[in-house]
Every structure is written in structure tokens, then in C-alpha cells.
């Protein structure tokens, strides 16, 4: 099939960007969306033009690197699917497709469709871990964990850190991402020890990075390729409120 692409091109963070149209010809329906972009890039490069810069790595939906907004939807409209796993059989011959980077202030554009998501790393660095240095861990079966808790932790831990939740949110809120990590660790007995400290530090860092507030519209959940549930946001709100009260009590 043949497609028209309207792609966001931007030389760097300081210069303004614009949409540029390209023709994608002879696209097979078995291609992934990113393979379709590879084809366009290959023809650009053989003409001596610079390829469209976009991020991708594993191309099997788990590394969270790919980050393009397709026709207004982060990763495209197919549910629970990253852009690298979206296949061209979901598009029609002759269609025009708009392709943009994640748009959120805390994710500045580096070039074209590449953005800087290091804000997410800094949130994890502020407290998204269990402080268990290597060595000295007890036998793995010494602390039984009820299966439902382990399953809940796993549901939250599936987050791939792609940032689609932020890109989908009108306020560029990172609540879904942060709450997934807070919940994953907070549900497990190993993570309960640092629960209060963790949620306070991570929320504080999230605010510092400039992510917006959550108004629970659920657009993040709808865009999440791993279907992380909005329930984790309510859970984090509870954990946060409890931690604030406890820390105020301890200070008084």
C-alpha cells in the first residue's frame, strides 16, 4: 500500500519544528509501523538526506524506547500495543498518517521524534527502589508473599517507562508511571519498610520535574501499552496522604 506521512521534523531542542510530508510507497501489511519508517528512512538516506530520528530498540514491546504519537494517539490507536508492535495491516491504502513526538514540557524534543525522558530516571533515583544492597538477603522463601499481592505487584511492575501516559494526559501528569512503581514496591513486604519515605520522595521529584496534576480522566490508562490500571493512582494517593500525616505527626 501507499501512504502519505506527515512527520514532525525538528533539528534540535532550540529550533522550531514543522510537519514535513513524505510518501511511503510499497508498504506491506506485515510490516510493523517502525519498519515502515525504516523504509522511508532508507530511501531518504540513499538520496543523501538525513533520516527521521526516532527512538526504538527491542522492537518487541518491552524496552519502552519507542515513543511516537500516531494520528494523535501515543503508540497509535490499537489497544495495549507499542508503536513497534503496531502492524500496518491496521492502516488503509492511501491513508495520511500524522506522526509526532511525545509532547510534554518535562520531555523536551532532542530531534524530530526523539525526546528526553530522563525525568523518569530521576524520579526512580529519588526513591523507586528497595535499599537492599547485594549480599545478606535471606532465603527467597523466608518471606512468603500471598499470591494476590505478588500478582498485584507484577501488574504494576509491568510498566515499561515509555511515557505514553504523560503524552496522553492534557496536563502531562506522570501519576500513572509513578504510582505503578510506588504500588509495585509498596505492596510487597520487602518494600513496606521504606514505603512512606519512597512515596514522599518520588512525588516530590515528580513535581520538581514539572509534570502536571492528575484529574483522573483516565486517558493515561487508555494509552498505556501495558494496561496499567488507574487503581494504582488511587492507591498512591492513599499512601501519600498517610505518609504526609505520619511525617507531620513525627515532626510535631
Amino acid at each position: 500500500m501507499n501512504l502519505t506521512l506527515k512527520v514532525w521534523r525538528q533539528k534540535n531542542a532550540d529550533e522550531p519544528g514543522q510537519f514535513v510530508s513524505y510518501q511511503a510507497k510499497g508498504i506491506s501489511q506485515d510490516m510493523s509501523f517502525l519498519e515502515m519508517l525504516d523504509v522511508v528512512n532508507e530511501s531518504l538516506m540513499t538520496e543523501g538526506q538525513e533520516p527521521i530520528a526516532f527512538d526504538s530498540d527491542c522492537r518487541e514491546g518491552i524496552c519502552g524506547t519507542c515513543s511516537v504519537v500516531i494520528n494523535g494517539a501515543p503508540h497509535g490507536e490499537q489497544k495495549a500495543t507499542t508503536a513497534c508492535q503496531l502492524h500496518m495491516r491496521h492502516f488503509n491504502d492511501g491513508e495520511t498518517i500524522t506522526i509526532e513526538p511525545w509532547r510534554a514540557k518535562p520531555f523536551p524534543v532532542i530531534r524530530d521524534l526523539r525526546v528526553d525522558r530522563s525525568a523518569f530516571d530521576r524520579i526512580i533515583q529519588s526513591g523507586g527502589f528497595i535499599s537492599a544492597s547485594t549480599g545478606g538477603a535471606p532465603d527467597a522463601n523466608a518471606i512468603p508473599i500471598p499470591k494476590p499481592d505478588a500478582d498485584t505487584a507484577m501488574d504494576a511492575a509491568q510498566c515499561i517507562g515509555c511515557g505514553a501516559c504523560v503524552a496522553a494526559c492534557k496536563n502531562a501528569s506522570a501519576m500513572l508511571f509513578v504510582s505503578a512503581k510506588v504500588s509495585h514496591l509498596g505492596v510487597l513486604p520487602q518494600g513496606k519498610v521504606e514505603k512512606d519515605r519512597r512515596v514522599l520522595a518520588m512525588v516530590n521529584q515528580m513535581d520538581k520535574e514539572g509534570f502536571g496534576n492528575c484529574t483522573v480522566t483516565g486517558s493515561c490508562e487508555a494509552a498505556c501499552p501495558k494496561e496499567i490500571s488507574l487503581d494504582f493512582i488511587s492507591r498512591m494517593n492513599r499512601d501519600y496522604a498517610a505518609a504526609v500525616v505520619k511525617s507531620a505527626w513525627n515532626q510535631s
Binding site: 510493523s32 524496552c63 547485594t134 509495585h184 520487602q190
Partner: protein, 637 residues
């Protein structure tokens, strides 16, 4: 000359304990005076960076991805082995050791493998403490499943995303150290050159992928944890960014490359659908626990799978290997699938595919149970192929997945270049000629959490060469070399796309040095690769400039190294006149088509020394002396 492998003397089971005592220590107050560079942030690199920082060393960690959380370890699906014997089914350290040695077709070092089996237990404890959400039983205790090449259930898993969860555990440990200021992290930064000062690895030159700037970093030691070299085949299950650059450029600086011909072709991947593909997707080996592999009995059978009656199907793994059945090791299962397809029995549009059928399991345990165990894999299969594997069998075909070969290291994981340590898939040490499923995660974490923290201190305590200044001539020289390579790539301005050159190379290596190899094919490849290289350096198109983001330059720089490395791979495959594990030479097989080893002449590690551009590499041999295990013909019948 190959240096001593430093394998400790004494009984196998106590070597590591004794060795740990014999290793020199660095006093806690002195540790902060030593700086370590870690390249790569996968399981091995992240766990090493975190642990070394916890001990007090100053660490700098580099990765080409935009975040250390994205390294390709994240894509490992099935699980991680550990000799916990939680299932009371006869597992032990010795059995995991033996299974791994046998699985590697008796081409790995006994002492390394035994250490790996011992440490496996600590890894699970450590990961559980970090909050890795392993699968659990209703009792709250950890669940296990079985994996290829083993008759016990020793594999721990987190749904079909074990690699992701283990990597996030290591990433979080690393993030904690970054937050504490103990690790300086350099994402989107790619290795260019290893810097040697007085023969010791003391620094690296890197390129910032955002700005294009080259920079110099000096340290007391350099750790490479940069993964394998599967993309030499172009299509593989690796991430599109995976590359051999750091390992190969270190090789050109003097580090020996060991056993490059040991490459693993994974049996259960989604078949190739066309030339446009950028990668192949693995379907976890764990699927073989409940899926049955078959092809039609008659060649050219065009009926739909469900129309082919039981009696007209060949469940070839169950037939050929009754005791291991569908859980035969990867090399064996892959070769059997290839043979079936070569005989015209393959299925799907290209004829290069076999069925992996869940109908019996769905009948036995019901669709919901199958969905709970493998749901995410079935979903992924449907996204890629548009087919529903609950209703019809999956189609699978082998694809390059992992590389057992890598830089040569001694028992301390140090290469022959003093101060250069190599961890995880990037080294050669533990898997011999074939890796068993669920062993890669185990090795990456063993190296990073539990081996390097002990052995690197011994190097610091035994040598007086300290971190040089980045104004040292060696840094200037290496930086000039890196810059010259970049300028040369940008000045070619030819007509061929980088992808088409990579594709052509990969196709050649896959055909001549893939699942089955022979002398004539390998000689042809060795003659053709230099011509491809010539074509690449004269006719590839690398647009753009050295400054700023340049995707084409990043790709071209990696492909350039594959163009050289491919020749080394084929040379190693040509010289090893035997079949073992993933290395199958059609001239050397038993009457029933199994790999025929030649222990008399080839029971050694082949370590190749770079001799200069366009010169054949020199071969060094490290004999494999087995104390505990008797080399036998591997049988899974």
C-alpha cells in the same frame, strides 16, 4: 600467548570458596580512591555498577540507550535457573552444574560453571529482596517451571517477562546509587575506543549521541558488559541497537576473542515474513512445556493444520528424543526443525516454519490456564502474525538469539588485557558451545552481583598502575582514531544504504555460518566478506554531520564493525573441524545426524588474537581439563 586462566586448584566444589579467601582485598576507606568504568547497563552492567558502588568504588556507567532501564536483557521472557531444589525433585548445585556443562556440549570451563551453579541460589535471594515479583504459589512460596535441557523444575519466572523484572531490579539498585552520587550515569553515550596505558585498560573514548561530542574518561579499570553479537546475522531476536562494537574494538586493541563460532539459534521464533523485517521475535522456550512441535508427515501437504489427522502428523521432537521430547535443548530442537523444513515438510507461506500446537494443553487444562501461563506471548503472536494461537497452532522457526562466544576472560573475568574485565554475554566463559534456557539471566547477574565485586579488588590490590590523567598521550591518540573513523564514514557519500549492506552481510553469514556450516561455504564467506567490506567503505551512504544527532552515523559505525567481525566468526567456524552445540559442521555428524564432537583435537577454547588489518588472526588454545565430568556424547534420547 594466552595468560593463565587462574582456575584455582583443589576440589571443584570448593574452588570458589577458597579462591575468594585467596583474593586480595581493598580496605573500605581505600575503595573510594578507585574509579571503575562500566560499559553497558543490562543485567551484568547494571548489577556490577550498583554492587561496586555499594562497596564504595567510584563508578561511571555508560549505555547507548536513553535510559539504563532499556538494555536488551529486558526482553528475556522465560526465566532464571537456580539450584534451590524448592520442588524437592532432585535438583542440586551439582546437577545444575552438570546440566549446564552437558548442555554446553562439554566445551565450557568446569570451574566457571560450578561457580555459576553455586551462586545461582544467592541471585534468587537477592532479587526477591529487591522486590522482583516472581511468580508464587498460593502458599506464598516461589513457583518454578521446567526448561529445555533439564529434567527438574528449577526455573524462576515473572510471567513471560522475567528479564524485564530482573533488569528493573538491577536498574533500581543502580538508580539508588546514582541518586546517592556514587554512580555517574551516561545514557545515550556510545563506546568508541578502549584506551590502554602501559598495557593496562585505563579508559575509554565515548561519543555523546545527542551532541556528537567525543569525550575522554579515565579510570582504574574498565568493565565491558556490552552483550552479544547476534546482529552479525542482520535478522535476530536482539534489539536493533545491539552491536559488537565495544568487544570488537577492544579485540583490536589486544583482547582475545574466544569461540566466536558458538552462536545460539533459538528454536521458537516467529518465522520470517519478508525482506522488510528489522528483527525477529522470540516466543519463549517455556511454551515448549505445553506446546507440541510437529510437521505434516507428507511433504507438500497444503491442508489447514486442524484438517490434518493425528496419524498424519510427525511430532518429530517427541519421536527423536523420547525422554526430553519437546524440551530438548535449543541447538538440537533448532536443527531438527531445520531438517524437517529442508526435507520439504515445513509449513506456512515460506515453507520455513513448524507448528507449535497447544490444542492438547487447552483440552487438558482449559483455555483459562493456558492464558494465565502464556497469555502475553499469545497476544504478542497475534499482534505480529494476525493469527489466534488458541484456535490454530503457532508457526515457529529458529532464529539467532544469543552468542556464547565473546572476549576471553580468566576465572576472575579479566581479559588478557590487564584491567579489562568482561561480563555477561560479552564474555565467553560459562555456556560452552550451547546455552541452556534460563541460564543467560543467571550468568549476567552472577557476574555482576557476585563475581566482579570480589575479583576487581584483587586487581586493584595487586597492581600499582592507577588512573591516568585524560591528558595522557594515549587518550589523544585514541580520540584521534575515533574521530578519523567518523570522518571517514561521513566522507564516503556512496549510493548503498547502510541497511542494504548490513542485510547482505547478514544473509551471507546466516547462509554460510548459520545453523549448519561446511568447509566450502565458510571458505566462500571468508572470501566474500572482504569484498563486502570494500564495497561498504567505498559505496555506503552516511548522510549528515558528526555534530548533533546522526542516526545514520550510529548505524554505520556499528555495521562497520560487523563487517570485520563476521570474518573472524567464519574463520573460527572453519577451523573447528567438529560439531558441538550450536556449531554444526555437516561434515562431522553421527549416522543419525547428531553433532559429532572431536574431543581429541578440539577440547579447547579457541582464543583469537588480532594481528592487524587484513591479516589473519592468530589462534591460542586453552585446553579444557575436566576433573569431575567425563566428556561423553550428549544424548537427550
Amino acid at each position: 600467548m594466552l595468560p593463565d586462566s587462574k582456575i584455582p586448584s583443589g576440589p571443584l566444589a570448593s574452588k570458589w570458596e577458597r579462591h575468594k579467601f585467596d583474593l586480595k582485598l581493598v580496605n573500605p576507606a581505600n575503595k573510594r580512591k578507585f574509579e571503575v568504568i562500566v560499559v553497558g547497563s543490562g543485567l551484568a552492567g547494571a548489577s556490577a555498577s550498583a554492587t561496586l558502588a555499594e562497596l564504595g568504588y567510584q563508578v561511571k556507567c555508560f549505555c547507548y540507550q536513553d535510559s539504563p532501564r532499556r538494555a536488551h536483557s529486558i526482553a528475556a521472557q522465560g526465566g532464571i535457573n537456580a539450584a534451590k531444589n524448592y520442588q524437592n525433585d532432585g535438583d542440586s548445585v551439582h546437577r545444575l552444574f552438570y546440566d549446564t556443562i552437558k548442555g554446553g556440549d562439554f566445551r565450557a570451563r568446569e570451574a566457571n560453571v560450578h561457580r555459576l551453579a553455586e551462586i545461582s541460589r544467592n541471585i534468587i535471594d537477592q532479587c526477591a529482596a529487591q522486590g522482583v515479583p516472581f511468580a508464587r504459589e498460593y502458599s506464598g512460596y516461589l513457583a518454578n517451571r521446567s526448561f529445555g535441557g533439564a529434567q527438574v523444575s528449577r526455573t524462576f519466572y515473572a510471567r513471560g517477562q522475567t528479564g524485564q523484572q530482573l533488569l528493573l531490579g538491577a536498574y533500581q539498585a543502580l538508580s539508588r546509587q546514582i541518586g546517592l552520587g556514587k554512580v555517574q550515569m551516561f545514557p545515550r553515550t556510545e563506546f568508541q575506543e578502549l584506551v590502554l596505558v602501559d598495557g593496562h585498560a585505563k579508559g575509554i573514548i565515548v561519543r555523546d549521541l545527542n551532541t556528537g561530542a567525543l569525550s575522554r574518561h579515565a579510570a582504574d579499570a574498565v568493565v565491558l558488559a556490552t552483550g552479544g553479537y547476534c546482529p552479525v546475522f542482520y535478522l535476530s531476536t536482539n534489539a536493533v541497537g545491539c552491536n559488537v562494537t565495544a568487544a570488537y574494538r577492544a579485540h583490536k586493541q589486544g583482547a582475545h576473542f574466544a569461540n566466536p563460532c558458538y552462536t545460539q539459534i533459538h528454536p521458537t521464533c516467529i518465522p520470517v515474513s519478508g525482506d522488510h523485517q528489522s528483527k525477529l521475535t522470540l516466543m519463549s522456550e517455556s511454551l515448549r512445556n505445553d506446546g507440541r512441535v510437529w510437521v505434516p508427515l507428507k511433504s507438500g501437504d497444503q491442508r489447514k493444520p486442524w484438517d490434518i489427522p493425528e496419524g498424519e502428523r510427525d511430532y518429530f521432537l517427541e519421536r527423536k528424543y523420547p525422554s526430553f521430547g519437546n524440551l530438548a535443548p535449543r541447538d538440537i530442537a533448532s536443527r531438527a526443525a531445520k531438517e524437517a523444513c529442508d526435507a520439504g515438510l515445513g509449513v506456512g507461506p515460506t515453507g520455513y516454519g513448524v507448528y507449535l500446537d497447544f490444542a492438547d494443553s487447552i483440552k487438558r487444562m482449559g483455555e483459562p490456564s493456558v492464558r494465565e501461563k502464556y497469555g502475553n506471548l499469545f497476544d504478542m503472536y497475534e499482534r505480529i502474525t494476525g493469527e489466534n494461537a488458541y484456535r490454530q497452532p503457532m508457526r515457529i522457526y529458529p532464529a539467532p538469539h544469543y552468542t556464547m562466544g565473546g572476549l576471553w576472560v580468566d576465572y576472575n573475568l579479566m581479559s588478557n588485557v590487564p584491567g579489562l574485565f568482561v561480563l555477561g554475554e560479552a564474555n565467553f566463559s560459562d555456556h560452552g558451545a550451547n546455552r541452556l534456557g534460563a541460564s543467560a539471566l543467571m550468568q549476567g547477574l552472577a557476574d555482576g552481583y557476585f563475581v566482579i565485586p570480589y575479583t576487581i579488588g584483587h586487581y586493584f590490590a595487586s597492581h600499582t598502575q592507577h588512573k591516568p590523567s585524560t591528558t595522557h598521550d594515549a587518550f589523544g591518540h585514541s580520540e584521534t582514531q575515533a574521530k578519523a573513523r567518523i570522518d571517514r564514514l561521513l566522507s564516503i557519500k556512496g549510493n548503498r544504504s547502510i541497511r542494504s549492506m548490513h542485510w547482505e552481510l547478514g544473509r551471507l553469514v546466516w547462509e554460510k555460518c548459520g545453523m549448519a556450516r561446511d568447509r566450502a561455504g565458510l571458505e566462500e564467506a571468508i572470501a566474500t566478506i572482504p569484498k563486502l567490506r570494500e564495497e561498504f567503505w567505498h559505496n555506503v551512504s552516511v548522510p549528515g554531520e558528526a555534530k548533533g544527532v546522526n542516526v545514520a552515523l550510529e548505524q554505520a559505525s556499528r555495521v562497520a564493525d560487523f563487517m570485520e567481525f563476521a570474518e573472524l566468526l567464519c574463520r573460527d567456524a572453519l577451523h573447528r573441524e567438529e560439531s558441538c552445540g550450536g556449531h554444526f559442521r555437516t561434515e562431522y555428524q553421527t549416522e543419525d545426524g547428531e553433532a559429532l564432537r572431536n574431543d581429541e583435537d578440539f577440547a579447547y577454547v579457541a582464543a583469537w588474537e588480532h594481528q592487524g588489518e587484513d591479516k589473519a588472526p592468530a589462534l591460542h588454545k586453552e585446553a579444557l581439563d575436566y576433573q569431575e565430568v567425563k566428556m561423553t556424547q550428549r544424548s537427550y534420547k
